[in-house]
């Protein structure tokens, strides 16, 4: 019993082959499900925030199982920063664009003047774009919070 414990500790307790193989198969499906929740926000429960949480959770799962360096190889800090700026920017940009074209903030039917699809189609499409922005923002900021908290500020090793 005792030496078995020592042996289990010695052989990289963080790197577990069983867990890694299972998670490797699961992550693409979790990501696709997160994207599905973002894309179908106006028909089913969910939307930008929930889908963003699932997308972020997929990458957090990766960071938990493969270690933080591997997840940094997957989405680097710079890309993450860019994404976390892009998300709110898309949201505010759509809103501001509506103001520019003569509507009120986030009044998507004003966008009809860019490309005449009809106000109803633009409302649906505008909600989708805004939710995309929210999703990207939530994903990257969740990932950022996890990275900072799990490594006590220095983003190198992680949990």
């Amino acid at each position: 019993m005792r030496e078995l414990q020592e042996e289990a500790k010695l052989r990289m307790p963080w790197q577990d082959v069983i867990l890694q193989t299972s998670v490797r198969v699961l992550i693409p499906f979790i990501q696709l499900f997160g994207l599905y929740v973002v894309a179908h926000g106006h028909y089913s429960p969910g939307g930008g925030f929930q889908g963003g949480v699932i997308l972020g959770a997929a990458i957090i799962l990766m960071a938990l199982v493969f270690g933080l360096p591997a997840s940094k190889h997957y989405i680097s800090e710079n890309v993450n920063k860019t994404l976390s700026i892009t998300g709110p920017l898309v949201y505010c940009g759509i809103g501001a664009l509506c103001v520019l074209f003569g509507g009120s903030f986030l009044d998507y039917s004003a966008l009809n003047k860019i490309l005449p699809l009809g106000p109803i189609a633009w409302r649906s499409f505008g909600i989708f774009l805004v939710e995309l922005g929210v999703g990207i923002g939530v994903m990257s900021i969740m990932l950022r919070i996890y990275r900072v908290l799990s490594s006590a500020g220095t983003i190198d090793q992680g949990l």
């Binding site: 019993m1 078995l4 042996e7 289990a8 052989r11 082959v17 069983i18 193989t21 299972s22 490797r24 198969v25 992550i27 693409p28 499906f29 990501q31 696709l32 499900f33 994207l35 599905y36 894309a39 179908h40 028909y43 997957y74 649906s124 499409f125 989708f128």
Partner: protein, 159 residues
């Protein structure tokens, strides 16, 4: 090649979970599948860029019903133990170590997961080809690795 296969698997999955076939949702779906493919194709087919997994999936489908049957029988045994008034006399927990003759990682992980799924035994550690298994009763400990290993070897390694 791996990218193409991943894309079509993801597309199938998207059609299954989405259920909306208008042009907008299919376009979004194709874009999402492309995104997941670009990011995660090396996760799903790590180290196996050829098509050998297709044959494996077909073979492992024949293994699942047997596994499910085993799980059901063993669960009944656990139910008997859990509801027995003098439970402490029946159970006899012990650690078992054994070596497997399975060669590649995927089949070893399949064996480990099957052992964990079968009630009465849990895989504690897997280092190389050496398994450490925690068995609840003597009867469960004697049944290791036994027929399960043979079936996995037949399904995944073709011998």
């Amino acid at each position: 090649m791996a990218r193409l296969v991943t894309f079509f698997i993801m597309l199938f999955f998207w059609v299954l979970i989405s259920g909306m076939f208008d042009a907008f949702h299919m376009t979004v779906g194709a874009l999402c599948c492309l995104l997941v493919t670009i990011f995660s194709h090396d996760l799903l087919f790590y180290g196996r860029p050829d098509l050998s997994w297709l044959r494996d999936i077909g073979k492992i489908m024949g293994y699942f019903p047997w596994l499910f049957c085993q799980i059901f029988l063993a669960s009944l045994e656990i139910a008997y133990i859990a509801l027995h008034p003098r439970m402490l006399d029946i159970i006899d927990p012990r650690l078992v170590r054994f070596r497997t003759r399975l060669r590649n990682t995927l089949s070893r992980v399949t064996l480990a997961q099957s052992i964990t799924l079968t009630p009465g035994t849990i895989t504690v550690n897997m280092a190389g080809n050496e398994f450490t298994v925690y068995a609840l009763t003597q009867h469960a400990a004697e049944g290791l690795p036994g027929e399960m290993e043979e079936r996995i070897a037949r399904a995944l390694e073709g011998d």
